[in-house]
Symmetry: C2
Subunit: 495 residues, 2 copies
């Protein structure tokens, strides 16, 4: 009879426990809207249609695709169309070969990402370990936190360097010191961690700019992490001098061709406000005219060598921190305050900041999509965002031909001397990935009048100038095929 009561009690107890469990589960479920409880627990992704509504910017879908595309519209270009059909195949072969060489030098394509597995008993550095070629560092963050076992065997391996530890241990406890494989064999987890804390990596190959993948294993648990072998770029600082005078901070640069009278007007307007700032003039006129100005450096080029060649030449001669680019037909006014542009570059991380040319800012964004057959470039007028701390200024990709730049950045990107006549956007495309560009509306330079000169010699030069300046079909074709080959682009759209 006691047994009967015992059985009844057990059943009641078990029933009560079961009830509590079910109620807990239901309770969790009750936090969820009950109407969806019945929704099938099917694993599904968003349909393509819905996906296309996400991840858009300026009407472009900036999500990984194998191939990018450009809408067929007037003003948009598919670059390969501008080659003669007969030469296109050979061009494609050559571009492919040159691209391969480029990729080899840049370490592209990037290897697949290194993935950390869950529940690995190791601590290790995920990001940020860097060593100069042939140097040694202590690898931070290595630790072991696993189950206690009688003995521990932990193996570290490197590919492009050797390993060691600063821990002073008996020979049998750490083997392979100074080699690519280091084996730690110890009885104490404490000692293991002490040894790991002081593991060193020595870079042994003189090949800066590579990433070594170091592995650490214990039994079947393996973790891998990157060590960047990198020689940091040496700084190129400019001494502004004790008084930080503008003439020691800024050089003005320009190119002139068959317009000495306009150049003269520009120079006189500059001297009104900046009497002693150096002006560098690159001149590819047929008969360059002497310039009477103590602070002008005049460079003579072969006749008609070209627009961007002249820009590259002028910039190559600058010895100050900043260079102000102006066209030879600009006109300085009281609103052409170079100091304002200097202030923007001094206080931000921008490389280039443009101003306004007679009220025109010419701001445009360049967005890029990658593709197997070449990338797609999309030019959109406007800007990305307002520049922090400078309400009159914005961040964008391209600007007018009136800008202040870090000399070092301009020299690094360069103006392609293959561009002989009309060109502008090409410089900003070449700068993609290397130039941070801003634009401020409060610094203004004027444009000289476009009216023809009355003096017959000047008028004659101007006539020759406009013949060179005409953006002919041949030139357009040249520039488009240049984008195809040089920049490995597929096509271009603009809005």
């Amino acid at each position: 009879m006691h047994l009967k009561w015992l059985l009844l009690f057990s059943l009641l107890f078990a029933g009560g426990l079961l009830f509590k469990i079910v109620r807990n589960v239901k309770g969790v479920q009750e936090n969820l809207p009950s109407s969806d409880i019945s929704a099938p627990f099917v694993l599904k992704l968003f349909p393509q249609k819905k996906l296309r509504k996400l991840f858009n910017y300026d009407g472009l879908w900036l999500f990984p695709q194998r191939q990018c595309e450009c809408e067929k519209q007037p003003g948009n270009y598919i670059f390969q169309d501008f080659y003669n059909k007969s030469e296109l195949e050979a061009v494609k072969e050559r571009r492919k070969a040159e691209f391969k060489h480029f990729q080899r030098r840049e370490g592209l394509p990037q290897p697949p990402p290194v993935l950390a597995q869950p529940n690995i008993p190791f601590g290790y550095p995920v990001h940020g370990v860097e060593v100069m070629p042939l140097h040694t560092i202590v690898i931070p963050g290595l630790q072991f936190n696993g189950t206690k076992v009688p003995s521990y065997k932990v193996t570290l391996k490197a590919l492009l360097g050797t390993l060691n530890t600063l821990a002073d241990t008996p020979d049998y406890e750490v083997m392979g010191r100074g080699h690519k494989k280091l084996v730690i064999l110890t009885l104490s987890q404490n000692r293991l961690n002490f040894i790991l804390q002081h593991v060193t990596y020595t870079s042994t190959i003189y090949h800066p700019g590579v990433v070594d993948i170091v592995s650490i294993e214990f039994g079947s648990a393996v973790a891998k992490f990157p060590v960047n072998v990198n020689q940091p770029s040496i700084p190129k600082l400019y001494d502004p001098g004790p008084e930080k005078k503008l003439k020691n901070l800024v050089t003005i640069a320009t190119k002139t061709f068959l317009r000495p009278h306009k150049l003269q007007i520009l120079l006189m307007s500059i001297r009104q406000y900046y009497p002693d700032v150096t002006v560098i003039v690159a001149d590819d006129s047929e008969k360059p005219q002497k310039i009477n100005d103590t602070y002008v450096e005049h460079y003579i080029m072969p006749f008609g060598k070209g627009w961007f060649a002249g820009r590259n030449l002028a910039v190559s001669q600058v010895t100050t921190k900043y260079v102000l680019w102006v066209d030879d037909d600009f006109l300085f006014t009281k609103d052409t305050k170079i100091e304002e542009l200097v202030d923007v570059l001094e206080k931000t991380e921008l490389d280039v900041v443009g101003g306004s040319v007679s009220g025109n800012l010419f701001q445009f964004k360049l967005l890029m999509e990658q593709g197997e057959d070449g990338d797609c470039i999309h030019k959109r007028s406007g800007y990305f965002e307002v520049l922090n701390g400078f309400p009159n200024c914005v961040v964008t990709s391209g600007i007018a031909n009136f800008f202040l730049a870090h000399t070092e950045s301009l020299q690094r990107v360069g103006f392609d001397p293959q561009l002989k006549r009309v060109a502008h956007t090409e410089f900003f495309i070449d700068g993609l990935g290397n130039l941070r560009v801003g634009s401020c509306s409060n610094v203004v330079v004027n444009h000289q009048s476009h009216a023809k000169a009355s003096d017959p010699d000047q008028a004659s030069l101007e006539k020759m100038y406009s013949r060179f300046r005409y953006n002919s079909q041949d030139q357009i074709k040249f520039k488009l095929t240049l984008h195809y080959f040089k920049n490995h682009l597929q096509c271009y759209t603009q809005k």
Copy 2:
């Protein structure tokens, strides 16, 4: 009585087990030399003396230190010593300010490494995730593998971008789509992993070259990993043309000053072997003489503008993939095979490859140690290693003034126009971290005789030339203080 036998048997069995266990432990210990078993298990590092014997290269201890040092020896320089004592403090202040600006623009100093903790139930990418500014990517490798619980709450956070997932889920299961914080709340580990597999990261700020740190957490377990926001550099490929003619691959560049007769001899020797390769001549002579050669491009500079200014100018005008630098007093011979140097650059990842000038290779290594008050540069003659695949060639840091280079690399590093007279090593120091340099002994150019010219006009020019060429104390002082400020160096040693 059965009980007695049972007891005896159990004791024997237990004794046998115990013996086996002890023997196993001893067995492990026996693999270790027994003489060290008794060594105290003290955790200690190598003493400084022993450490100094490790991690050496060319007699330099390449291990992290707060400050680096240069031996005081003739030929070695402590750069700040070359400033006037009165100006030194002000110079230090200015250099500190300019260095701060540089660091801000370069994202330095690097933040401390991101460390992975042990036993985190997450899988995630450790290295290699990259996204273009404003673009979206799927984050690879995210997974959860933890203990089964009734419900899972996993939170992801980004700083410089927004998060989402391609998984089509009810609203309550994933919250914060398109924001910096994404919260996943689900009952099924299966569904959790499906959602995680398809998590996307969208870059939202237009600031290329930064690293976002994304975190993923479950309860107290947190993992962090980097996402590189990077706009890849756009390629600058050169079309070698259908026949890969040398004239379409290589431009020869030189600078001349007060030595038109030597330049003429150089040109004639070039034309013997290369009749139509373009030669670019930068000329800052007082009265530049006309050059009669269809394939020479002659650039006139202000008188005495300078050595490196001229080099920078010449290189700025090159439109071919490669540029061959020569001095104006060289002499081409049948061993001056440009094609051999082209072959080296085409097949390796080098940026520059030098040849021999009348048997002299001038190879030297540049090793750098970092330090708070500026870095230390050590110049050592010789090379690092033989160039893979080219037994006549080596990898080094500096070479003679006879070399073939990728035009794009040379333009990127540049020749500092502040260096007006004697300079050589400065270019290779500026190139540290940016130029991979090689040197081959099998391609030779000769040096013209140093004998004075007999023609009186030429002799007069040569006399003026040697006055400019004299490496005066003022010039040496200028170059040393330039290293101090511009390159943020502390000192220099040479062997």
